[in-house]
């Protein structure tokens, strides 16, 4: 019984996809974009056109080969001037495919790299865009970021140390265990601050997308209706 109770929090999450954006890029959670887009990061460019990278996820029931054919048709219909299949591309979660695209914007010629991985009927798509004149010094950073695409069973699994994994796991297990002598608002605020400290200390090497996902899940759990009712 104890075993089941201890491991129950593991069922709270199924697979999680994350990647490591370049260190100094800024995070944004797009509101007015396609529902496929999960998150985006923007860097600094030589003009108003800033380099960006976004993660999209799409449910699919086709193979990678068929998916790529469909993607090519859509990209060419969008008026992209160049579409190149750069071949197999290894990412942390497995072997995907890398595509290069070129298009035009009011700021100049844009070069894009798109890494696509299909796993368990989901297409995971990382797309990076930068002005063509900026890509020579950004390409290595962008490809490194695309290759970091990871799929893990839960958010604590990728932490390097067992102690760190347990700490985060314990935190999520204890969110709903408010002592009677602490008011609900105080408890929630304490939990939220504690989570931030854990992420800052234990997840400093994990990149801002992983940090964002942990904070997002923790925030939702701390302030969930379930938590309000239980507490």
């Amino acid at each position: 019984m104890r075993w089941i109770v201890l491991y129950f929090p593991l069922f709270l999450y199924s697979s999680v996809c994350y990647f490591t954006p370049p260190a100094d890029w800024e995070c944004c959670q797009p509101k007015n974009m396609s529902p496929h887009i999960q998150i985006g990061f923007v860097g600094k460019g030589s003009t108003e056109f800033r380099p960006s990278i976004n993660l999209a996820v799409e449910e699919v029931d086709v193979s990678l080969k068929t998916y790529l054919k469909a993607v090519k048709q859509i990209h060419l219909a969008q008026g992209n001037a160049v579409w190149r299949d750069l071949g197999p591309f290894k990412v942390a979660a497995g072997e995907g495919r890398l595509i290069q695209l070129c298009s035009f914007s009011p700021c100049g010629e844009v070069e894009m790299f798109q890494a696509i991985l299909i796993r368990d009927h989901q297409a995971y798509i990382l797309t990076a865009a930068a002005l063509k004149k900026d890509t020579p010094h950004l390409k290595e950073t962008i490809l490194k970021s695309l290759a970091s695409l990871s799929i893990v069973p839960n958010l604590w699994t990728p932490l390097p140390l067992e102690e760190q994994r347990l700490q985060l796991q314990d935190f999520f297990s204890s969110i709903h265990t408010r002592p009677d002598d602490i008011a609900l608002n105080d408890w929630n605020a304490m939990q939220w601050i504690q989570l931030q400290k854990i992420v800052e200390k234990e997840g400093s090497s994990m990149g801002s997308h992983w940090q964002f996902l942990v904070l997002k899940d923790g925030y939702a759990e701390i302030y969930s209706k379930k938590a309000q009712a239980k507490n």
Binding site: Q29, M33, G40, V42, E58, V71, C107
Partner: protein, 72 residues
């Protein structure tokens, strides 16, 4: 023991992914197509919240996005 198994089975529908995934009502490849369009939009709009303050800024982003749904 049977009760515990039942509880676990009942809890399975709650095991939705932490990331919302767009349902597939459209043709394959749409996600990748939108991703390139949105990459251009993202780059040109330059939307973002500075990460200079690290975790604090990520938290502010979350709090701003959800502030209308509950109070602290």
């Amino acid at each position: 023991m049977r009760k515990i198994c039942l509880l676990l089975i009942l809890s399975l529908p709650m095991t939705a992914p932490t990331q919302e995934i767009a349902s597939r009502n459209s043709r394959a490849g749409e996600g990748a197509g939108y991703a390139t369009r949105d990459a251009t939009v993202l780059s040109m709009m330059g939307w973002g919240v500075g990460l200079a303050a690290g975790i604090a800024t990520l938290c502010a982003l979350l709090e701003n996005n959800t502030s209308s749904s509950h109070s602290h």
